[in-house]
């Protein structure tokens, strides 16, 4: 169970609050919320540093990460999901970024953390956190991080009712840190150094092999997310950032970078994170996250509340570059309109899209379809199944369908 169980009543109350405004009809009876002095407009509120580290409004208590209990045996090796349906914009708040740990959250004091670079280098080096933060070349970058298993429960059909669960293993964060290139120049990579093994310092000692070209191209080490120190569950004090590539490679609690002349074929790149295809063979090193999009509103956890004007909203991203366009369908992919993108359009980062529409109460089959600047178009789920079968687990970027019923309730469905 979640640590903060959400009771049905609480959810209804929260939803009811959202319902209040659109349900207001033209009336001659004055609104007591306006005509009467309300308690919050009369007495004093909380003083400063009542909460030295601020927290969300108590009316947002249902906006939390959630897990799916039957997925995993132990909380320490499990996953929680970002509540995408309750967020807007392109930045994911730190406390809501989905978690995936293999041995629980390690708590490492920054003065006890070390980063080692060794292997095929001129000078094997050890850095403290303080030294890393004194190095020249610091960068600020926003990137999405998507688990390769995001939407993995949906290969065989619609299974989970909520974009938090179907698509919530993704977040988008501003990172501050150093390009790997800076560290590698300092250590002096030998000419046969073609691969990097990144290793975490928690008890799972998570490892992944990364080609040197990618490492030099845009990988970075990060100690800061969205303006503050990394959260423990995101690898405090130091994590690897591997833009556009599957989240498992973004090693948390990063302690070691070994340079080698071939990949290490670790558990997470052989037994896991390989994509089994119908002929019994598997794709290996499927690092790039294909273009994907999801309508976050409406969605099963955020249904339509009233007829009339609506704002459809969603997110799109691509591991190959920038999102060029997002189309939305209301009739299950028969006809499409191009969505309005607002906010920054940056490569390997979330893009936010909107379609304003009037709803007359008819059933809708809502879909979104992302296109990136390489010309890749997000496929339908059936197209993906035709190409890969049902057992590849990872990299399910198929178009999602939401059924909006006449009463506004929204469901995860499959269509033909």
């Amino acid at each position: 169970m979640n640590k903060t169980p959400l009771h049905r009543r609480a959810f209804l109350t929260a939803a009811g609050a959202a319902l209040a405004t659109p349900a207001l009809a033209q009336t001659n009876a004055p609104d007591p919320l306006i005509t009467k002095v309300q308690p919050w407009a009369n007495g004093l509120g909380d003083g400063v540093v009542d909460k030295p580290y601020g927290v969300p409004s108590k009316f947002e208590a249902d906006v939390i990460r959630r897990d799916v209990e039957w997925l995993t045996v132990r909380k320490e090796s499990s996953v929680s999901f970002t509540p995408l349906h309750a967020l807007d914009g392109v930045i994911t708040p730190n406390g809501l970024c989905f978690e995936r740990h293999h041995g629980g959250v390690a708590h490492i004091a920054p003065d006890k953390h070390r980063l080692m670079i060794h292997g095929l280098v001129d000078k094997p080096l050890v850095f403290t956190m303080d030294e890393l933060k004194r190095m020249a070349g610091r960068v600020n970058r926003a990137y999405f991080l998507e688990c390769a298993a995001n939407t993995g429960m949906e290969w065989k059909g619609a299974q989970l009712n909520g974009c938090q669960f179907t698509h919530g293993m993704v977040h988008n964060v501003w990172y501050v840190g150093l390009p790997l290139k800076v560290l590698f120049e300092r250590a002096g990579v030998k000419t046969n150094g073609k691969w990097v093994l990144a290793e975490g310092g928690d008890n799972s000692l998570m490892t992944r092999s990364i080609p040197m070209q990618k490492a030099l191209d845009d990988c970075m080490i990060a100690w800061n997310m969205n303006g503050e120190a990394l959260r423990p569950e995101q690898g405090y004090p130091l994590r690897l950032v591997v833009p556009g590539w599957e989240g498992n490679m973004w090693i948390k609690w990063l302690r070691r970078l070994e340079i080698g002349d071939q990949p290490w074929e670790q558990r997470e790149e052989t037994s896991k994170y390989t994509d089994l295809l119908p002929d019994g063979r598997a794709r290996h090193f499927t690092w790039v996250m294909d273009a994907k999009s999801i309508v976050t509103n409406p969605s099963p956890q955020a249904p339509l509340r009233a007829k009339g004007p609506q704002v459809l909203s969603g997110l799109a991203w691509s591991g190959r570059g920038s999102i060029k366009r997002v189309d939305v369908s209301f009739d299950g992919g028969r006809n499409w309109v191009t969505a309005r993108i607002d906010g920054p359009v940056m490569p390997l980062s979330f893009v936010r899209f909107y379609v304003e529409f009037d709803w007359d109460g008819r059933e809708l089959l809502i879909q979104s379809r992302a296109m990136d600047d390489t010309g890749y178009v997000q496929p339908t789920k059936d197209e993906l199944r035709k190409a890969r079968g049902l057992n590849s687990i990872y990299h399910n970027n198929g178009v999602q369908t939401w059924l909006v019923r006449g009463d506004g309730e929204t469901e995860n469905v499959e269509i033909s």
Partner: protein
Amino acid sequence: MSKSRKFALIAGAAFASLAGAALAQQKAPAVPAAPPPAVQGAKPAAAPVTAPPMALGRLALPEEIAAWSIAVRPDGQGLPAGKGSVKDGEKIYLEKCGSCHGEFGEGAGNFPVLVGGENSLNKDAPIKSIGSYWPYLSTAFDYIRRTMPFGDAQSLTADETYAIVAFLLNQNNLVADDFVLSKENFASVKMPNATGFYEDDREKAEKHFWREPCMSNCVATPAKVTGRARNVDVTPEEGKGPKVE
């Protein structure tokens, strides 16, 4: 000291540091052509830099590298000296691994299956065990040594790890009951699914996903709902949308 006096001092200090920051920013080049020395910008009027640029970090010592560098590659690089028998492995496995992975490696609850699944990879319910799926034996040794048993990582000796791996090979019918696995004979064990993998070819195999998308009348027939998550009913209770009932 009075409260107001204290406040004034703090405010004064804040202004001073702001002014200092602005000064430093002005003097720093807008776009440095080359990485500046690490200390530049901190104190514009400081004495000449004596250390070479970016001389941060120190040399890693051989003992430190040895302590952390435990990765094992398919070619055997990284294997420690040692050996272990199937027989010893069975004993250690039952004591330290069986409660999660099952007495015979069949997996318990949702913990991973380690044994069996031969010829299942192209079937409806593939079993991806060490024997049926893993392409390299080095991966098993590496993983067990670095992070098993769950919650007691890095507690196994090299000999214990060799023994557990030998036992798992035996359970997968890949070595005889009297087999002893060692650094020396490690490379002689071939995994059945070693050739079952190929490099990412999505850009070729899925070339048809790079296309001009259809915008209107894309499918002749109206869309029909063929499956509903609510019928599967596995969404966590807390996550369900409010029902109007």
